[in-house]
């Protein structure tokens, strides 16, 4: 069943940045956009399973650290070579300073 999991504190993520969040044997990436919204995707690039949290966030794009594959972290859409498989995204909400992710 899908449930809301506490991923981190709001202050753990800088604006226009990303952190890694591991839960139940899976790894996720938690993003804070330049306009201060939170998002979550699978943590590994769909090209070679590299942690996206080591990558660079620019506007609504996360760029993979390994070969610069790009995804829109709000929609999960792959944005061109070398990535062609989209990222799974997850619903996120903020409650009393905590970032919650719905994983299911």
């Amino acid at each position: 069943m899908s449930e809301w999991i506490e991923a981190c504190e709001v202050d753990d993520v800088d604006e226009e940045d990303v952190i890694r969040f591991d839960h139940a044997g899976k790894t996720f990436a938690i993003y804070r956009s330049p306009d201060d919204e939170f998002f979550a995707t699978d943590g590994l690039c769909t090209h070679e399973k590299v942690h996206l949290a080591d990558g660079l966030v620019m506007d609504d794009i996360i760029e993979c650290p390994k070969h610069n594959g790009r995804f829109n972290y709000k929609t999960g859409a792959a944005k061109g070579a070398p990535v062609c498989v989209n990222l799974q995204t997850y619903p996120v909400k903020v409650e009393s300073g905590k970032v919650l992710v719905q994983i299911g």
Binding site: E16, V50, H51, D54, G55, L56, E63, P65, K66, H67, N68, A81, P82, C84
Partner: protein, 410 residues
């Protein structure tokens, strides 16, 4: 029906170019012709995880279904032997003639051959998936592997072979490994990692003799006067561009098929891109270079595709390259030899970046190494600073607590 767009070479560059034609909305015929028998695949894993793993999985760039969906007419195991520029046709090895409206040459490069190794069956080279399979089959535990050439392919293969339990000796005639384009400080870190893994790296050597046992394919070398026996000898001494069909048809060739900043050759209907092409690097005042780099092949393929559709776009990308050995990843943005001074920035305890600055203070390159992706983000930010022609203050670059992103806003 018009002949449409024809692309020669179904490698990284050619495959990306065909897909880009469709992404740009081109609706006419697209033909992709490749000499290899495989669907377009990525080469970088061949010397890295692919070689170290139990089996070399092919990392396909676009599978048959995707090419079909994009209506790409794919011709594999087909070598173009001649271009007739007046008739605008290509001739295949089997005699078939293929017309084109616009042509992209994405023929890549092939390993430079070592004259001494000609006719010696035990000596192998690595460029293709089939080469990799053949090498992989001979990396038996405890086999002695001699690798001639301390460049990226030789060193990545050395790491993979040692991880597979081989004894490895790297023979380099230059005074150090990675002489071309890599700072000594980074080459030293790579050499130390090889040392820890038991790989012997010998620099400044001279190889005077090479003989082979035809039945076992073992190779015997005389290095600095002393004999070395190897079960397998791999030669990795660079690559030469595949320019013959271009030069035979009278196209200008200058260390690669000569193109302008739009990837057009001296014939306006013919473009060239990727490892086979030499082009003016706009960010360095038009310095003519030929890059052998994966992202460059993608970017130039896509750029050539847009310009085959008359977009008239100029190349503006910063060269970028990476290499993986053991748990280390190195990345370089820009060309290091453009710099005259260097500023070092520590990234955590075991990674660092060197910023290379021109005499006028412009950031022209950045090179870094560390475990995993430790340097990736900062190299990417450096690349953006390089692209802008930024002159970031050296003390800020060196200060680990100054975010490079903040320099971009400046």
């Amino acid at each position: 029906m018009t002949p449409g767009m024809v692309i020669v070479g179904a490698g990284e560059c050619g495959a990306r170019a065909t897909l880009a034609l469709r992404e740009e909305g081109y609706d006419g015929p697209v033909t992709l012709i490749g000499a290899e028998r495989h669907l377009p695949y990525e080469r970088p894993p061949l010397s890295k995880d692919g070689m170290a793993a139990e089996a070399i999985g092919a990392k396909v760039i676009a599978d048959a279904a995707r090419l079909l969906e994009a209506r790409i007419d794919l011709m594999l195991s087909s070598e173009v032997v001649r271009i007739d520029r007046n008739a605008r046709t290509l001739a295949l090895g089997g005699g078939r003639v293929i017309p084109y409206d616009k042509l992209l040459l994405a023929t890549g490069a092939r390993p430079r051959r070592l004259p001494m190794a000609e006719g010696i069956g035990g000596c192998v080279y690595l460029r293709t998936h089939d080469d990799a399979e053949a090498i992989r089959a001979r990396l038996r535990p405890d086999a002695h592997v001699a690798i001639i050439g301390g460049g990226f392919i030789g060193l990545e293969l050395a790491a993979a072979a040692s991880m597979r339990g081989c004894r490895v000796t790297v023979l380099e005639t230059q005074p150090r490994i990675l002489m071309r384009g890599v700072p000594a400080e980074i080459a030293d870190i790579i050499a130390e990692a090889h040392g820890r893994s038991g790989v012997v790296i010998r620099c400044g050597v001279s190889i005077s003799e090479m003989t082979a046992d035809d039945s076992t394919r073992a190779v015997s070398l005389v290095v600095d006067g002393a004999r070395i026996e190897a079960d397998l000898c791999i030669v990795g001494i660079g690559a030469v561009p595949n320019t013959e069909i271009a030069s035979d048809s009278g196209l200008a060739v200058e260390n690669g098929i000569r193109v302008d900043e739009t990837m057009a050759t001296s014939d306006p209907n013919i473009f060239a891109a990727g490892d086979c092409a030499s082009f003016p690097l706009v960010i360095y005042g038009g310095r003519r270079v030929r890059l052998e780099a994966w992202r460059n092949a993608q970017e130039q393929g896509a750029l050539a595709a847009r310009n085959m559709l008359s977009k008239g776009e100029q190349h503006s990308a910063v060269p970028w390259f990476w290499s993986d050995q053991y748990d280390l990843s190195m990345q370089i943005a820009g060309l290091v030899d453009e710099g005259v001074t260097t500023v070092r920035r520590e990234v955590g305890a075991d990674a660092f970046i060197l910023f290379h600055l021109a005499a006028d203070g412009r950031l022209v390159a950045a090179s870094g190494i560390g475990p995993g992706n430790a340097v990736a983000r900062d190299i990417r930010l450096a690349e953006m600073l390089i692209a802008r022609g930024a002159k970031p203050p050296g003390d800020k670059l060196a200060a680990s607590d100054t975010k490079l992103k903040s320099l971009l806003a400046a």
